[in-house]
Symmetry: C2
Subunit: 326 residues, 2 copies
Amino acid sequence: MKNMKVVALAGGVGGAKLAAGLQAVLPPGDLTVIVNTGDDFEHWGLTICPDLDTVMYNLAGIHNPETGWGLLGESFTTFGAISQLGGEDWFRLGDKDLAVHLRRSEWLRQGVSLTEVADRLRRSFGIPSNILPMSDSPVRTLVHTDEGDLPFQHYFVRRRCEPIVIDLSFVGADQARLTDAVQEALSAATLVVFCPSNPYLSLDPILCIPGVRQQLRRMAAPKIAVSPIVGGQAIKGPAAKMMRELGQASSPLTVVDHFDGLLTGFVLDDQDAVLRNAVDLPTVVTNTMMTDLESKINLAKQVLALGTELMVSPSAKIRRRSKAAS
Amino acid sequence: MKNMKVVALAGGVGGAKLAAGLQAVLPPGDLTVIVNTGDDFEHWGLTICPDLDTVMYNLAGIHNPETGWGLLGESFTTFGAISQLGGEDWFRLGDKDLAVHLRRSEWLRQGVSLTEVADRLRRSFGIPSNILPMSDSPVRTLVHTDEGDLPFQHYFVRRRCEPIVIDLSFVGADQARLTDAVQEALSAATLVVFCPSNPYLSLDPILCIPGVRQQLRRMAAPKIAVSPIVGGQAIKGPAAKMMRELGQASSPLTVVDHFDGLLTGFVLDDQDAVLRNAVDLPTVVTNTMMTDLESKINLAKQVLALGTELMVSPSAKIRRRSKAAS
């Protein structure tokens, strides 16, 4: 794993888990996670960045593995009091979590960039990896549904992903500026990992930041996606449901097609081994279910091993089933 | 107590206690408390209004009687987390209390006036009395000390009132606008009570709002102050220390002189009974130590009884010692 500079593109839980695995395997500082901020929103007068925080809490090892969001051993005293005062109570914020939102919002109002805010926070939590928002410009995912247009968190949390998705917009993405930090991380990367995050909701917003897709296309480093779809289902979240609503098969092959021209490698779950010949990319088949640190580390090793092979032989057609990386 | 419209001018703890006594005695809605906002400040990116909240929590009966600030049964989880993140931790904010600051700050940012915010909050807490900030314009008390100029909370909390006070400024008071709510409350008042709050820090800022002093001078209603100085000491806070530092005697007589021309009645504590002949105002001598609801109610009744006498006979020289009002 020496001399690998890994950039992981991540959204929420799945991405955060693989990022934690990669961090555990790589030398400190060699992982940079570029995180979706399309889910960000204003709530209680604060700027909430759910994916940045999920990645941060997972990399700090203080995340709540039961919920997939928030902190372990969290209390909800302020939340209860806000609710009693007639405040919005459809989005739960814990008391310790709230400290992060307060710090972030205060800094943002002082004119500190979100990139700098994310860096200050990850350093406070003692995280060795870099955590970069996809942009400092606000981008807000808007979900076009059969019930009308819904801001992302209203679709995701308030309406529990129940409305049928017709299309998505990333409001502000056109005007969003690629940050120096993202540009430099991509330039320095020897491997790019598309984490098993929702392709539409988590990774597309990152790819829509002007310059990101172009830079990914240009770069020589291997680009490997881990399928977020296993056995026709998303491990968590609405990815499979959205695929069907958008007229696609809920299959890893849909993921490969979706990132057409960007990927140079792919990782399938054991359950989808039969599909390996249908993927027109060097592909590893392994256990992608990250239920504990060991399985996160194992998947990370598989991804890094495939990356290493592709660096040596970029056009290699690697189709194998391995239990563990060397 | 029928047909009395009472306006109480109040700062922190002492004022809040007497306000609670007055509320307990008067018909619902007949009390309006005009509250000092010179102590307000920005903290953690939120607007904190300590005196408004102390009055509100006391009128709701949910205040912490031990500390004098904050809520009963409070936790400090977010505070601890903010501290761990390197945030400012010299001013303690409880988790439930934080809900109030979040609601208020969000509303203020939306353009809602502080008067409307205070009214929304007191209604949420089921408080029958009106709670009015002295102005919607920001006024910030600046304490000129031997250690330099200190914003109020830095003097009061961070430096624990230790620096020697040379003078005070109420920054923004010159430009502050008298609100319709304050003007109407004063116009309708049949009795004005200067609560036993710090004359310099709590009541002077209210009196410095353009129009307040003039309106008080003009009005026919009795204006009664309850001495915040008992036995040469302030019951709570730096009033006595400040009097000495400003070259005054720490005496109820200093309070009378300070409000020269505004008061028409005065309330002395039993401990200061010897001073009654030195006060050139109709004066009641009673127990002013408000240690429980009963003593708050008793003091309120004494104040209202004096007010009633002064309404009937404004020039009466009332000098008596009474144990309880009729």
